[in-house]
């Protein structure tokens, strides 16, 4: 089964078309990278897939459920790690994790156990009692991803997960994301092209509200006739913007 399938997915805001008739398929267990220059439509696509905004045309199915007519079912299957800090600042790391677990239906006991597992899995033992607002950017992102995973989602949306992090923190998060590969379906948006190349099974490049190219990093490089992924992205994006 495909984890995500969109058909003619469209979002219009008055005179602006943010996403135009998008046909996209993401397989179960795949790590799919969505790239594009600013305003290409990737954030709006993620918003529609995660039920944050309704499509104005077409539809998207997440594990067989329509984001238009079965939003509640979709919400139970997905989780999102938003771009900016998405933690409750005055709650401790453990409390943040338990809170998210509970709103996805865990009992207090289950939430405690799951929080303990995530703290261990993400090496957060030493900061477990620390208030999230006092953590460094890297630790907050790590917590944010752990919060997204504690509900055991089938599909995870990672929106610019390493934006603003230093090289070490970014590499550390890459390792975390790599460990998830194959276990759940991940949709990753990023402006760091080396990140997409290193992590993603397949990559889609959006421009002017449409998907302009799709494939593995190697396939996209071949398509653009270059050995460098950044060059490939620029070639494809510039061609689309002409």
């Amino acid at each position: 089964m495909n984890a995500i399938e969109t058909k003619g997915l469209t979002k219009k805001y008055k005179d602006i078309t943010a996403v135009n008739a998008l046909d996209l398929t993401v397989r179960e267990g795949e790590l799919y990278g969505l790239l594009g220059v600013n305003g290409a439509g990737k954030s709006t696509t993620i918003k529609m897939l995660s039920t944050l905004t309704s499509p104005t045309g077409g539809d998207a199915k997440v594990l067989g459920h329509s984001v238009k007519t079965e939003a509640e079912k979709v919400k139970a299957l997905i989780n999102v790690s938003p771009q900016e800090t998405a933690v409750a600042e005055k709650l401790s790391v453990r409390e943040n994790l338990e809170f998210i677990s509970k709103i996805y239906g865990s009992s207090a006991k289950e939430a405690r156990e799951k929080a303990g597992e995530m703290i261990e899995k993400f090496d957060m033992e030493q900061i477990a009692k620390q208030k999230a607002g006092t953590l460094s950017g890297g630790w907050q992102r790590r917590l944010s991803i752990a919060m997204a995973l504690i509900s055991e989602p089938k599909v995870l949306f990672l929106d610019e997960p390493t934006l603003g992090l230093d090289v070490l923190a970014r590499r550390e998060l890459w390792r975390v994301i790599e460990k998830l590969k194959g276990k759940i379906t991940i949709i990753l948006t990023t402006h760091y092209l080396e990140e997409a190349e290193a992590l993603c099974d397949r990559i889609g490049i959006m421009a002017k509200a449409q998907l302009k190219a799709e494939g593995t990093a190697a396939e996209l490089k071949t398509l653009a006739g270059t050995d460098d992924f950044e060059e490939a992205f620029i070639t494809i994006a510039e061609e689309a913007l002409k």
Partner: protein, 247 residues
């Protein structure tokens, strides 16, 4: 479970903010202490009863509750503009659970705040009896008024703006038109009429009647406050729900 989890998170966010302790508890208590000290210096021949502990405390408790608007509106406004809210919007939390989660923590806070003020008043000579407990219950409708105003303003204004509107404007307006600090009939005219139209002076009058044991005098004023509480709560829920959908 979702509602209680969200309510619990909101309680922690509010109680762990030093502003809550400073304005919610510290400020009303300081006022109670200062005005009691001033009252003790007023000669009895002056026949000034406004700052006597039985008259002063009901007003202070109502004034203290006005800060609930500030706490709730700031939390909602901050949440609304943060990525944390995006995370919650993609979760299974439903609109009604959002509203309950923001509202429910405020009621025990209101009761606790009122109880602490009355406990301080007992220390200053107020008789502790069933009337004090009744006065605490009588304060619940005005607490709902302030909570609803917080929900309303927090839903439409930015975090910066709610600080001004709920922190400065609303607390001042509710103080001026409440008959706590001065008798609005002494000002007269439109000011007195506005005080009679708004719920604040009625809430203070009902609480004073409860403390004094004048039970027959409670409801005429309290109905006025209950009416405001219901209208504002419905308005707040409607506006919050609309904003939630648009978000």
């Amino acid at each position: 479970m979702r509602t209680t989890a969200f309510a619990s998170r909101n309680t922690k966010e509010i109680l762990r903010d030093p502003l809550t302790l400073i304005f919610g508890l510290g400020f009303p208590l300081v006022l109670l202490v200062l005005l009691s000290a001033i009252n003790s210096g007023i000669p009895k021949e002056g026949n000034v009863t406004m700052f006597e502990i039985n008259n002063l405390t009901p007003g202070i408790t109502v004034f203290g509750l006005s800060f609930l608007s500030l706490f709730s509106s700031m939390l909602i406004a901050k949440d609304r503009t943060s990525s944390f809210m995006l995370r919650l919007f993609t979760s299974p939390i439903r609109p009604a659970e959002f509203i309950l989660g923001y509202t429910l923590p405020m009621l025990p806070m209101a009761l606790a705040q009122t109880a602490i003020c009355y406990a301080a008043a007992v220390f200053y000579g107020m008789a502790f009896n069933a009337n004090v407990l009744l006065a605490m219950l009588v304060n619940l409708p005005i607490a709902v008024v302030f909570i609803s105003l917080g929900l309303l303003f927090g839903s439409v204004l930015s975090e910066k703006a709610v600080g001004g509107v709920c922190g400065a404007l609303l607390t001042n307006l509710s103080a001026w038109f409440s008959n706590i600090w001065f008798d609005t009939s002494m000002v007269g005219g439109w000011f007195e009429k506005a005080a009679k139209l708004l719920p604040f002076s009625h809430a203070v009058a009902a609480a004073k009647a409860a403390v004094a044991g004048n039970y027959a005098d409670i409801m005429p004023d309290l109905w006025w406050v209950v009416g405001y509480a219901l209208v504002l709560l419905v308005a707040a829920i409607t506006v919050f729900s609309v904003k939630l959908k648009r978000s």
